[in-house]
């Protein structure tokens, strides 16, 4: 753990916002997440998904991660959801809205969801010793710079994630090229 994080942990920074904000954002995220799967109309689902993504971005802000929040808004809410809506508008909604909304696999899904819930509950109950008392809070004013230092800083000191980051971006590049090659018959 680097010194900046340690000092931030020890200084006991004041929270950005009151717990009220957390409950409001989390409630909104859960409610709109429910709306995503219960709405019959695919466009309504997409709109609800945008609300979910934005409230999760708000939660990132509360966790002192403004950069992640900004990227969440740009990439998901602004980019991917526009593509979603674009595709949804091209398909025939009348037919799909008449189809059954849930298929026969719902008991399996329910079981998986319950298992995940049990995991979360057990982590919350038993995991007190695993996690530090206070969240890892970087100073808000230099948070983005810290992320950059972690990714690109000198190897060994701060930039311990350079290699992993570059590998991940190479993987994404391969995926993009693959998508282009598979859709285009002739290049």
């Amino acid at each position: 753990m680097n010194p900046a994080i340690n000092s931030a942990l020890n200084s006991g920074m004041a929270p950005v916002a009151t717990p009220w904000f957390f409950y409001a954002l989390a409630g909104l995220a859960v409610a709109s997440g429910m709306a995503v799967i219960t709405r019959r109309n695919a466009v309504h689902s997409a709109l609800a998904l945008i609300v979910t993504l934005l409230s999760v971005a708000g939660l990132y802000l509360m966790l002192y991660a403004p950069f992640v929040a900004g990227v969440q808004i740009i990439v998901y809410a602004g980019g991917i959801m526009v593509l979603f809506l674009f595709v949804i508008m091209l398909v025939n909604l009348d037919r799909s809205s008449k189809e059954r909304q849930f298929n026969r696999m719902w008991p399996v899904g329910l079981a998986a969801a319950c298992a995940l819930l049990a995991l979360f509950v057990s982590v919350i109950v038993k995991g007190k010793a695993l996690f530090p008392d206070r969240g890892m809070t970087l100073p808000e004013s230099s948070n983005t710079q810290q992320v950059a230092a972690m990714l690109y800083g000198e190897a060994g000191r701060m930039g311990q994630y350079t290699f992993a980051f570059e590998i991940a971006s190479l993987l994404l590049l391969v995926a993009i090229l693959g998508a282009v090659i598979m859709t285009k018959k002739k290049i």
Binding site: N41, V43, H44, L47, I50, P66, F67, A69, G70, V71, I73, I74, A77, G78, G79, M81, V82, L83, L85, F86, M89, L90, E140, S141, S142, N143, T144, Q145, A148, A149
Partner: protein, 432 residues
């Protein structure tokens, strides 16, 4: 309440209300910006109609008020009184919520626009990222409006708009990144995403990023300037509302107040993207040539500009008054224009008095006021140049065809902006 006010005024060493944690002043700034943007949109409406008319050798609005000055107010009243029709086959809720999405996205970005080193609602660590992200949400309003209308032309307009925005956002983002790279050309070697930080970086380096690494900054700026026109759906990229092909595009089914909300959002986001360009490449709130002409005498001369601008406007209004036809029919209009000229003249006088009283930078109230007016004036001046450019484009260029639009976006702007980004990085490494 007075405590709030005084605490902010006392400890005001270049702090935004958000940075100082003053909720009262943050609210004040939000209200001022909201009112200011609304007024600017009203003015822009009049100016656009007049300038377009003069481009086409017409007079433009002349009947409502002297030289049509009250036309936007009449328009606004008409739009508010008009029947608000929701088509029977439309998706009621989504139809209702779509203009609000656009409006919300257009106005939210103003929280981080730096009108001066402390004249912004808040200085976010991720300022430029926040601006790009939230302004990209504006397209959702357009897309959803086109779909909810449940009609052919709006849907086509929405599809065009979403494809266009997604394509041009890429080139726009890469151009922005190359400007952000330039902010890291300082001693510590770390750049910044904060809007205020970007302008301060230009101040420290003593150069607008437009001219940095010539011609790389210029090319990046040109790419942004093209992409931002596409981003706000203005001519020549206004395919989403191409009136010759799609009647009115995505807002064909909208009427009355809801339609005017779309217009408000469009103009507000035009101002917003112009201020991104001004902040990133044109030195934000800085007056021209602070690096070459930095003597106090030059400071004084440049601080006269706000007053002189209003003085010039007053003079134009006075000439208009004098040139009014002598017929008794124009009596009220003549009086109205004279009052308007007097108002502008009074403002000009006030600004000149402040400039003279605050010419010594001794931290007195007049000096600080003078400084603040200077920041806001130069920022708005640069933005106004862009707003005029938007009108100029619209009057000059024919609309792109859709495949040409895609070609320009993906095959011209994107490779160039990628190349500029790589070259900027290379030059930056070599120089430092």
């Amino acid at each position: 309440m007075p405590n709030f006010i005084m605490s902010y005024l006392d400890s005001k060493d270049a702090m935004t209300p958000g940075g100082a944690g003053s909720q009262f002043w943050a609210l004040m700034y939000v209200l001022i910006i909201f009112a200011g943007v609304s007024v600017a949109v009203i003015c822009m409406n009049w100016i656009e109609r007049k300038v377009l008319a003069h481009f086409q050798v017409r007079l433009g609005p002349m009947r409502v008020g002297p030289h049509g000055l009250l036309q936007p107010i009449a328009d606004a009243l008409k739009l508010m009184l008009k029947e608000d029709i929701i088509p029977a086959e439309a998706d009621q809720f989504v139809f209702w919520v779509a203009p609000l999405i656009g409006l919300l996205a257009a106005f939210t970005v103003y929280t981080v626009i730096p009108f001066g080193p402390s004249q912004a609602v808040s200085d976010m660590n991720i300022g430029i990222l926040f601006m790009l992200g939230v302004s990209s949400l504006g397209v959702l309003g357009i897309v959803v409006a086109g779909w909810a209308s449940n009609s052919h032309y709006p849907l086509i307009g929405a599809l065009r708009s979403s494809a266009q925005m997604v394509s041009y956002e890429v080139a726009m983002g890469l151009a922005v990144v190359s400007a952000i790279l330039m902010t890291s050309m300082n001693v510590s070697g770390t750049g910044t995403l904060s809007m205020i930080g970007i302008v301060q970086a230009q101040q420290q380096q003593g150069i607008w990023f437009l001219f940095k690494f010539f011609p790389l900054g210029l090319i990046a700026f040109a790419i942004f300037a093209i992409a931002m026109v596409a981003e706000v759906n203005r001519a020549p990229f206004d395919l989403a509302e191409a009136e010759s092909e799609l009647t009115a595009g995505f807002h064909t089914e909208y009427s009355g107040l809801r339609w005017s909300l779309f217009m408000l959002a469009e103009y507000a986001s035009m101002i917003a993207v112009s201020s991104i360009a001004v902040t990133l490449w044109l030195g934000g709130w800085m007056r021209p040539f602070p690096n070459l002409l930095h003597a106090p005498a030059w400071d004084f001369i440049f601080s006269l500009f706000p007053g002189l601008t209003f003085g010039g406007l007053a003079a134009i209004a006075l000439i208009g008054t004098a040139r009014m036809p002598a017929h008794s029919f124009f009596k009220i209009q003549r009086i109205g224009l004279a009052v308007f000229a007097a108002l502008l003249g009074f403002l000009a006088l006030l600004l000149l008095v402040i400039a003279v009283a605050g010419r010594s930078a001794d931290g007195s109230v007049a000096a600080r006021l003078n400084e603040g007016i200077g920041y806001v004036y130069w920022f708005l001046f640069k933005v106004a140049v862009f707003m005029y450019l938007f009108i100029w484009y619209r009057a000059t260029w024919p609309r792109y065809r859709f495949d040409q639009l895609m070609k320009v976006g993906w095959k011209v702007l994107l490779p160039i902006s990628l190349g500029v980004l790589i070259l900027t990085a290379v030059v930056g490494v070599i120089v430092s």
